[in-house]
């Protein structure tokens, strides 16, 4: 199997990641594509850059790969400052959304290309190419041309081609977006397995939150060129630090409110707000954290009376739209056997934990 050598002198200094990005900026004229990005990634982790299109995630990745020059900032990998190093001397493996295989070369030649550029000996090249191709389960396809393979197979060739050079970091730019849904799930597991087996540090750019949450150790949520939050999937979901993260990760009820004297009014309730917060705020509650009965353990919760205005049975979940004191709540319940969905017009009492209530200062 492949081994990823430790590049640089040794483990990097404490507090700094294997990949350390400092104050990275990219401007196109007046447009700020990436705004002051700071990032520290530990060795061996798979980190997602997640965000809507145009959020700067791909530009950040391309700056790390050296394909786009940074306007300012520093990129350090394993203690080596790569900021001004040419892409062909950075030692990074990049997998593209469009595969970007060399159409005039066979699969084996594609995989061997990086080794050839590194002047690796013939015997070693042959062995490493064979291993890489077997790792992505394409043994027997060595002499095929890329056009003869399916999309999923082509992306596996691209993965083998990027990994065979034993890069310091594996960069994946929306690698699953051109594949159909079933193949996407398969490839997702395959990429994760290979990444963990090799213990390689990897960045995975995606706009699909399910991909980011299910396969990555950490997720960097980006919006409008800024890093909104970097954390584990659980942290992002349970402790979103901005209204953008709260609404981008998972579904959420969003309410506009006004904070006054340490509280905001929502549907007749007084929601405590963080100290010092005044003016317009946003209150968010996840639909599936709202229950129709009070919590059994008596944990502190909010409760409000309402009426079901819409009832949707979606197989695994029941979705209710509930209007309470003029506010419309989306409520999701897991379905159980022999349960009858509530009908439109049914009175209900909604409960949710105080700790499941997020209050954010509204964006200016």
């Amino acid at each position: 199997m492949l081994h990823v050598p430790v590049t640089g002198s040794s483990e990097s200094a404490a507090g700094e990641g294997f990949l350390s990005v400092r104050g990275l900026n990219k401007r196109y004229g007046d447009f700020i594509a990436v705004d002051n990005l700071d990032l520290d990634l530990p060795k061996g982790e798979l980190v997602a850059f997640l965000g809507p299109s145009g959020c700067g995630k791909t530009t950040s990745l391309r700056m790390i790969a050296g394909l786009v020059p940074a306007t300012s900032g520093r990129i350090v990998v394993g203690g080596r400052d790569l900021t001004t190093v040419e892409p062909y001397r950075r030692d990074m493996g990049l997998v593209f959304q469009s595969y970007a295989l060399f159409p005039h070369m066979s699969i084996a030649e594609n995989v061997a290309f990086g080794l050839k550029m590194r002047k690796v000996g013939r015997a070693e090249t042959e062995q490493r190419v064979r291993e890489a191709i077997s790792m992505v389960r394409l043994t027997g396809k060595e002499s095929h041309r890329p056009a003869q393979l399916s999309g999923g197979q082509q992306q596996r060739v691209a993965l083998a081609r990027a990994l065979v050079i034993r890069p310091s970091i594996l960069l994946l730019d929306e690698p699953l977006s051109n594949l159909d849904a079933k193949l996407r799930d398969e490839m997702r597991n395959e990429i994760r397995d290979i990444q963990q087996r090799l213990g390689i540090t990897a960045i995975f750019v995606t706009h699909d939150q399910a991909e980011a949450l299910t396969m990555c150790d950490k997720v960097a949520v980006m919006n409008a060129g800024r890093l909104e939050q970097l954390g584990t999937p659980v942290e992002l979901y349970e402790k979103p630090q901005s209204p953008f993260v709260a609404s981008f990760i998972g579904r959420t009820n969003r309410f506009a409110a006004v904070a006054k004297n340490g509280a905001a009014e929502l549907a007749g309730l007084s929601i405590p707000t963080p100290a010092g917060m005044t003016g317009k705020v946003e209150v968010m509650i996840r639909p599936h954290r709202i229950t129709l009965s009070a919590p059994a353990d008596g944990a502190p919760c909010h409760a409000v009376e309402g009426v079901v205005t819409r009832s949707i049975f979606a197989g695994d979940i029941l979705q209710y739209e509930v209007v309470a004191h003029g506010a419309t709540f989306l409520v999701e319940q897991g379905t159980a056997a022999h349960e009858r969905p509530l009908e439109q017009g049914s009175p209900v009492r909604l409960h949710w934990l105080m700790s499941d209530t997020y209050v954010f200062g509204a964006a200016a």
Partner: protein, 291 residues
């Protein structure tokens, strides 16, 4: 439904169906038969006619013309010289056009429109006019030599020899080469070049190992086109060669219009067709090799 189906099938009378494609091909077939095949057959028959020194064709037939062009060292040299000069022109045209085509391929928006216009404009000007432009530049007392002598450098013999013909034809054929290359550049994907860069290929290696192989179909097409145009070019070699450069097309003109030896002119014309056939054969072979 099942009851209706047989009647529907039986209803139209049995007629021979001519595919639409065949009908659409009829006009171009007729035009080619009248405008190309018939004259070529005519040429072929002329090449076997007997001719008197006055240029008058007797009724008899003769293979004298064919014997002449395969045995007379003048005609053998003429053929070899034409092919070699045209190949040199193709190579120079390719070298001059490739960077322009690559730049054009990578330019977008208004700049591309402007650049494309600049490339195509020469095609809108007659080759005669452009050739006279080159005469003004290349003459012994022309622009280039005047500048050279101003700079205290020795002047060059740039016109009324092969050098002039090669310079003029290279420039005249460049638009055809650039457009052919551009048509063949569709396989060039900037992502593929980036992939090569991240795999450790420097820009020079990326150019030779990725860009050039992917542009070979365009190179082959442009080379074929320019070769054919160079071998059959007449005005430019005539004017820039000053009667001292002997190429197939100019010799055909001389034989037909000056010496009035139509059978020999016809034989040389057929010879050009054979050269074209050879070029086309090589092109198809090359395409198969690089595809």
């Amino acid at each position: 439904m099942t009851a209706i189906a047989p009647t529907l099938e039986a209803a139209p009378a049995r007629r021979v169906k001519i595919p639409l494609a065949v009908i659409l091909l009829i006009p171009i077939t007729l035009i080619n038969l009248i405008g190309f095949v018939a004259p070529v057959i005519n040429l072929l028959s002329f090449s076997f006619r007997e001719v008197q020194a006055t240029g008058a064709m007797t009724g008899g037939s003769s293979i004298a013309s064919w014997v002449a062009i395969v045995t007379d060292p003048f005609y053998i040299e003429l053929l070899v010289n034409s092919i070699l000069t045209s190949l040199l022109i193709v190579v120079l045209t390719l070298v001059c056009s490739f960077p322009i085509a690559l730049l054009l391929h990578r330019t977008t928006g208004f700049a591309r429109t402007v650049l494309l216009f600049v490339v195509i404009t020469p095609l809108l000007t007659s080759a005669v006019v452009r050739t006279y432009g080159w005469i003004a530049l290349l003459l012994d007392g022309g622009v280039i030599n005047s500048l050279l002598s101003l700079a205290g450098l020795p002047t060059l013999k740039l016109i009324f020899n092969s050098t002039g013909v090669v310079i003029g034809l290279t420039e005249i054929l460049m638009p055809y080469m650039i457009l052919s290359l551009l048509a063949g550049f569709r396989r060039l994907d900037p992502r593929v070049e980036e992939a090569a860069l991240t795999l450790g290929a420097n820009p020079f290696q990326t150019f030779w190992r990725i860009i050039v192989p992917l542009t070979l179909p365009g190179v082959a097409l442009g080379s074929l086109l320019c070769f054919v145009l160079a071998v059959s070019s007449f005005i430019t070699p005539k004017l820039l060669g000053g009667g001292r450069v002997f190429l197939l097309a100019t010799e055909i003109y001389d034989q037909a219009m000056v010496t009035l030896n139509w059978p020999l002119a016809s034989t040389l014309a057929i010879m050009i067709l054979i050269v074209f056939g050879g070029a086309l054969f090589l092109y198809l072979r090359a395409l198969r090799a690089i595809a």
